[in-house]
Symmetry: D2
């Protein structure tokens, strides 16, 4: 069911790097109100634009962009030479969605969530932004016997299908994450999110992989990429960060994992992914621009490794001999 | 996409209990060759038949049933009044499948695995057994850069589609498990297994939930049941055991979890599951018949709790108020 | 090395229940600034005093109690008939301690942390509070090659020894937690915290078990209780809540685990624990007083179960027969 | 409490590499009786002796060495120029210890375990082997309410103290592992094992770190090394392998982790570890000698990296700036 494009030539220079704007400011956790002072949106944009290779920015709805400021934000993007890669509607921080947004038990909340999504889609069109990155972080459940899995999943699927039908010019990238802020999210891993995509029946509904969410969910990210390809080219977007596999620590890329990123890049290329590489971190205690920059520089290093060794990697994957692969990887360092 | 059957009446007496035969004997792990002596197949059958409520038995191919003994085994089933619930082809213990079976890199191994499956399907037909429970435990990978996720997943899907087409009288229940014996299995959780089912396009391909595998994979089992329902009544079979969520400990049901089984039974009924409740444990150090019996008795206890409180449970799920649900659950004990 | 007190008679009415005041208000996480409105300290105290069986309150330093308000708070305690069970100095929420407090790399920060602790100890003496519950949540590290394990652990131990020597009238209960807000904390589990206790050489330094932290750390809580007993009666305090074992979800007691609490209470009594049972939850989306009350009522239920079956429990533990224990537990429900 | 030896010069050539003999043969798991054919002890020794840099061998008692063959084994060691690094008494594979060995509930089993240990200690003396590596894998519990934590831990401690007192010429290295074959082991992590060491009061009782067990237990290995140092130079031995942090996969070193090994080697040197680097793997499907060799070659690579960058590493650890450390690590590749 996957047709590998033969002779596909990968050009490293085509890689498009981006960052989520909030990475440059937001540093609160449930204990501490903020490890650093939070610059305003315009100052964060200026700082982001100075990070080498960053050409695109993702905005969180309401936080960064609203009806009252999107024209100003768009002008700032234009003057700084940045693209608006995606808008991430805030379906997670407003207490209105505290017990769910598009899959909430409360119908009036679902209606408000859809109205809010429409506003954000409208702004996206105005800003020439192609992707709505939907992370329905509050849509899930905390306790056993709390979720009505049938009804709430149905609301989720129907509402995504509806908004996607209303805005055919936009692509809706569903970002999965197994837990936090709920102990369990309805969009937990790649495969269940693909089932939702397929159930919507909409071509413009796909998936965002956040590398940390994938680690957290117990996935091998490269395999998640292949699952999305096999389901019909459903990988729309990529968020990058690292963690210890048990929580969404949102750390610098490659601070924990190494070979997994090499494998990921290999399979992203095999599957013909042409989207953005966007950084999504929480540099609570670190210099934010430095942390984002490090992630990009590691990804570039891995890109070079993969590019220079693509044939060898194919050969080792085909053979599946762990000893030989270890020898090869050792030779790269 | 799910039509709940209104007015569905649940009768506890309809529940059908079974056990995997090997539970009564096999107790080796990678260190110890056997914590107890292993009785032979006929002795295990006799012991199983004496466990209260056990009316069906699952057999592991080759271990328990082969071309040379299936007539004798069938006679024993008949004389003991047992049904052959499923045959579980041995795609995991024979060193021939050490690096994969139906998804192996080696084409000659895949061909042998398919030939073996055909033999087992033939025996199933002879034994009036309706389910082939496929657990492709060796189909996966251990190391990064070892699996060719595109090719091997394609082999898996195509071979399952092929055997299912060849034996339309049988139902093929795919048993997922995130890891062991490989560090990563291709059939890891409900959602990715449903994607394989859908990709085969065959109505007689569905899923087995092993409750321990579901815990291990980070799932809420009840939600996995609903996913299977929503994908088109794809829950074909159930294996029961318990563990600490981090490994397939194959313990007595309810030794660790409680409310999760109550929730599971509630949603199995909501989704109209009418299949077997089969025990799948590894009583390394315990009396085997006693351990199986305990699991069944716990499930019966939960059945009664659910049956007596079905309306209340529906109401608490609809409300989703954790404090009220806690009060209610406390009143049950 | 443990002398079990023979003939020890357990009286349920001796159990002392408490709650951490912030449970009644604080509901922010790193995404949402607050799922509910936060009542002020006095209002939280009034609400806490109305929860059945709550006779004591733990205060977080600075948040709830400071030099400028402790007299007023003390009057409120007196008028409401509450005891101040412990003060939990805020070593985790002030950005000053963002990279560590008593084990910080920065000596000036360590000095400030000690000065702050002295203020809190002084207030404790004024309030007739016997326990300083030290949770050094920021003392740890996030990245590999970030912590100087030798030096920072030494600072931690020396500073705890120093403050304990300065305030011999107080007991210092060290609360361990493997992670959050750092990816790794220096006080991670019971055994490493006991090593710190022993290294201080101070009798008034012991440990707080937070049941959720113990689950999170992969411990069996009852065994942690026994470790503390064996190290010289080092269990000073208990915090109660529940979670799914992978994160500090701070849920209602018994919402996930059941038998573990029964076992815990059994061993608390065996080890002669006579301290408080204090509730420590984060009822983000729940009625706070209701959530605390539920936890206490579950603990009382377990207390009754243990009290009525103490001899049987001893017998089943002595035998270690999982099938027989399962039968017994089934009979209790 | 730790005195760092100033001016300590590290010479890479001093590193002593070893392997556990069974790595070259044993490949069974609980499903498959053996992925490869098992060579006999003498053949395994010959193969081990040919792996570059391997100068020492660890033997499992009974499996590899017994009263009836130790003279022959010793001659083979001598003729192959190998040292017997340790004997690992088989307290885990014999069904006699199925429910515990030195901490078993059954006194007659404990007595037999001690008699067996004495035999193994006697053989060690004859073979000029200095370390008894005790892995009491069956000493623990599977179910809640199964372990008598007070009594069984006391048996464990007293029996270790006793055997250590009887054989003062030997060093007893306790190998911890949180689980498998029991769901919970009494020696679970470094800190609790150090508490046992301290409770024995014997200088010749210390700890073995198995890197995979440390990952599995949620430890940062380098910090475990420092804990052992701080408790009085208690790190007696090192076993090396790798895994995915959730199970003892016994994989080739550095197949998953990278920076953790660099950090580990740095702190081993800081703490003056002078013992063996012994490989402990389960190459189920791999060429065994190749898998062991790869682990050693990766460790040598890390040794060079650490040796060439020791001052820089010290500086980055002292600063604790994750961005700067990331830049530095990136420059190494």
């Amino acid at each position: 069911m996957i047709t590998k494009e033969k002779g596909m030539t990968f050009l490293k220079t085509q890689r498009k790097y981006a960052a989520i704007l909030g990475n440059l400011g937001n540093t609160k956790d449930r204990f501490c109100g903020g490890y650093k002072d939070n610059p305003d949106t315009m100052e964060m944009l200026r700082r982001a634009s100075k990070i080498e290779s960053v050409r695109g920015i993702e905005l969180v709805g309401t936080w960064d962009v609203r009806r009252d400021n999107y024209c100003e934000v768009k002008r700032a993007f234009d003057s700084l030479g940045l693209s608006c890669v995606s808008i991430i509607p805030d379906l997670f921080a407003d207490k209105l969605w505290g017990s769910g947004s598009i899959a909430a038990k409360d119908k009036s909340v679902r209606i408000k969530a859809m109205e809010y999504l429409r506003v954000m889609c409208g702004i996206a069109l105005e800003m020439n932004c192609k992707i709505i990155n939907i992370w329905p972080g509050q849509d899930g459940y905390d306790y056993p016997l709390q979720g009505n899995y049938i009804e709430e999943r149905k609301h989720m699927t129907e509402n995504i299908a509806k908004i996607a039908a209303e805005f055919p010019q936009l692509r809706f990238a569903l970002e999965y994450k197994a837990k936090e802020p709920r102990t369990h999210s309805y969009l937990a891993r790649m495969a269940d999110t693909l089932l939702v995509c397929l159930q919507t029946g909409m071509d413009n509904v796909g998936v965002t992989i956040d590398t940390g969410h994938s680690f957290l969910g117990g996935e091998i990210i490269a395999e998640a990429v292949v699952l999305a390809k096999a389901a019909g080219d459903k990988l729309f977007h990529m968020h990058f960060n690292d963690n210890y596999r048990s929580w969404d620590d949102d750390m610098i890329v490659a601070s924990i994992h190494t070979v997994e990123y090499i494998e990921l890049i290999y399979w992203l290329d095999e599957c013909g992914y042409g989207g953005w590489f966007s950084m999504d971190q929480y540099p609570y205690r670190e210099d934010a621009a430095g942390a984002i920059s490090e992630s990009i520089l590691w990804l570039k290093k891995f890109d070079i490794l993969v590019d220079e060794n693509r044939e060898a990697l194919s050969k080792y994957i085909a053979a599946g001999n762990a000893v030989a692969t270890s020898q090869f990887l050792r030779s790269l360092i």
